[in-house]
């Protein structure tokens, strides 16, 4: 920092920013048009129409000036998030977003230069006040975009997960839940919710959870499995777990899961047979009872 003292610099910025803001407000029409032109010229946002680009450019411009004026980026953050939500599905890339914000920074810097170039000292002070704010804005927009992109990716992962854990109805009152792949806490939770609502929707009495395709579980996932069994039981459905590898069995025992409370059968085929035995048992008893009435 070249200025004599930090205190002076911040006082200087306080005084200069309003002037800066006034300039950007009065040149609004011309500057945002120039910016939009440069965006098109640089082939950025190619998936959007010129009208769309101009409309977004207007909003970003106004937000930009607001941030300079108020010093608060929270509002810009909201807008950037909203913008990202709309443009990500259209295939806009991170470098494009960073690109357009940097273009705006340059368009504005150039206009400041034109206005103040006769007074070099003043120009320097103006740019000193402008630059940190402009960089912060560029940073805010980029970060919002990247965060939104990450969220979209997570969402896509979620829907893939949903597809990969189907709840299958094999016969009346019997569901099968084959789990394939690594179970993390989030997926385990989702699985439980699917299973429990599946029990209700299909009025299931017995559920076979096949974990042959699960390489390993950690303590929290193991606990989750046990909770799933308990929750299913509260809804009146028995759970049979099949395909329990010795490795997972050891984990369960080590963390103190009482395996005698969990119905485990070697493989899926055996699990289904056991389930049918349980269901048939109920059916036969009811039939007996009916016969007795006659």
């Amino acid at each position: 920092m070249e200025s004599p003292a930090e205190q002076d610099a911040s006082t200087d910025h306080e005084q200069l920013l309003p002037e800066l803001v006034a300039h950007l407000r009065s040149s609004r029409t011309q500057l945002r048009q120039e910016w939009a032109n440069r965006i098109t010229g640089a082939s950025l946002l190619s998936s959007m129409t010129p009208q769309e680009i101009f409309s977004e450019a207007t909003s970003v411009y106004d937000n930009y000036v607001e941030v300079l004026e108020t010093g608060s980026v929270e509002a810009l953050q909201h807008y950037a998030q909203n913008l990202s939500e709309r443009i990500i599905p259209r295939g806009v890339e991170t470098h494009e977003v960073v690109g357009i914000v940097l273009l705006l920074r340059d368009v504005l810097a150039r206009s400041l230069f034109e206005k103040y170039h006769s007074d070099f000292a003043l120009l320097n002070r103006i740019l000193d006040a402008y630059e940190p704010a402009a960089n912060r804005i560029a940073n805010t927009v980029s970060v919002s975009f990247v965060q939104e992109r990450e969220r979209v990716i997570r969402q896509q992962q979620d829907s893939i997960r949903e597809l990969s854990t189907p709840v299958l109805q094999v016969r009346e009152r019997l569901l099968i839940l084959p789990i394939i792949g690594v179970l993390d806490a989030q997926r385990a939770r989702q699985l439980t919710e699917q299973l429990l609502s599946g029990i209700r929707a299909h009025r299931a009495k017995v559920v076979v959870v096949d974990i042959t395709g699960v390489p390993d579980v950690d303590v929290s996932v193991a606990n989750h499995l046990v909770q799933t069994v308990d929750a299913s039981r509260l809804m009146g459905a028995g759970v049979i777990i099949t395909g329990l590898s010795s490795k997972i069995a050891q984990t369960l025992v080590r963390i103190g899961v009482d395996l005698s409370k969990v119905n485990t059968v070697g493989d899926l085929q055996g699990g289904i047979e056991e389930a049918e035995r349980l269901l048939g048992f109920t059916v036969r008893r009811a039939a007996d009872a009916d016969r007795q009435q006659e």
Binding site: S10, T58, D62, A75, L83, V146, Q147, R154
Partner: protein
């Protein structure tokens, strides 16, 4: 990535805030005890300060917690003095129940009107128009966006900013005073907008301690901030089993507004039920504040339950399974902490307990 934390980092964060608050308690007590004589009032104000600091903690930079606590404590003491003074002055009025009209009410109302008018005048014309169209004419942001060739997000963002600014200007007009330094306005705006990064940049915490003026305004500013969205906040008395049921229904409604899944809503309602029942059982009465919070990267619901019961002798043990003092299953606190993402307890024996719990919305 700025702002977003891994899920398992939350527990750590919770313990940290809890730790800080525990450390803050003697400091707060010191500030208040130096100014108030009645030990009962001191206790009340300590609890009140803790509760306010807790509910605001998420909006403040960590380094600002201690200074903010000191400021809150001082403000509460001042408020208490004023209340006592007013009570003394108006003591005779209680003998005259048939006094329907007090001239000073009119003056107050007039002052308030003037404050609003002059605050509105400090806004730019665009800001004023947008705000009035939205707040008074009830126009939807989408509609306004379409008209001005802007986007819904941009309009909402502008409204947020304008409200933050209006709050500051209103308070300034009400106090009818000029800002003592050029640093005050940006600090107040950063506090009003809940912009933590800006607060850090401006060293808002340091400024609050130095500047008597801003420290006085910070209270109403931050309180107002929480009351900003009326339907997203509730303050409920917890005295009977009926209140328990009401509290969990309100909690469910408030949490539903920010998009929690049905399963999460049930977890939240169950946790509220556990905590509220504890308050009814142990303390006869208490109160619960339920509100939503919005961080830069996530949204959540915060529940603060306060009671003036006997307090919890061993907070750490109370969070272990099977610890219970009333022959129940001992699931209340540990159970609730499993249902929520964060839970911290501040308890003083014989004085009361404040429990703050938070759940974050996993898919914003």
């Amino acid at each position: 990535m700025g702002g977003s934390e891994p899920a398992n980092g939350q527990v750590h964060g919770a313990l940290q805030v809890h730790g800080t608050l525990v450390e803050l308690t003697p400091l707060i007590r010191g500030v208040i005890a130096a100014r108030m004589r009645d030990p009962g009032v001191v206790d009340d104000l300590v609890q009140e300060t803790l509760a306010r600091v807790m509910t605001t903690a998420s909006r403040l930079d960590d380094g600002a917690l201690a200074p903010y606590a000191v400021v809150v404590a001082r403000n509460l003491v001042n408020q208490q003095w004023r209340t006592e003074e007013r009570a003394r002055r108006h003591a005779h009025r209680f003998l005259d129940p048939a006094e329907p009209h007090r001239p000073e009410d009119d003056v107050l109302r007039l002052e308030e009107n003037q404050a609003v008018t002059s605050a509105l005048a400090r806004l730019s014309q665009g800001e004023r128009q947008t705000l009035l169209a939205h707040e008074l004419e009830g126009r939807a942001t989408a509609e306004m966006a379409a008209e001005s060739g802007s986007t819904t997000g941009a309009v909402a963002a502008q409204l947020h900013r304008t409200r933050a600014k209006l709050r500051v200007e209103y308070l300034l007009a009400l106090e009818q005073s000029r800002l003592p330094s050029h640093r005050c306005r940006p600090v107040l705006l950063a506090l009003s907008g809940g912009d933590r990064r800006r607060q850090r940049e401006l060293d808002a915490a340091g400024h609050l301690l130095e500047c008597q003026f801003c420290s006085q305004l910070s209270g109403p500013l931050l309180d107002r901030l929480q009351a900003d969205n009326d339907d997203e906040e509730a303050l409920l008395p917890i005295q009977s089993d009926k209140d328990v049921v009401v509290a969990r229904q309100r909690g469910r409604e408030i949490a539903a507004q920010i998009g929690f899944s049905p399963t999460d809503l049930t977890l939240i309602a169950t946790a509220i039920s556990e905590i509220a029942r504890n308050a009814v059982r142990f303390a006869d009465r208490g109160q619960m504040r339920i509100r939503t919070i919005e961080g830069s990267a996530r949204r959540g619901v915060v529940i603060v339950a306060r009671d003036r019961g006997p307090g919890i002798p061993d907070v750490q043990r109370a969070l272990e399974d099977g610890y219970s003092t009333y022959g129940g299953m001992g699931l209340g606190l540990p159970g609730a902490s499993r249902l929520m993402d964060e839970l911290h307890i501040v308890s003083e024996l014989g004085k009361g307990t404040t429990i703050t719990m938070t759940k974050w919305c996993t898919d914003p």
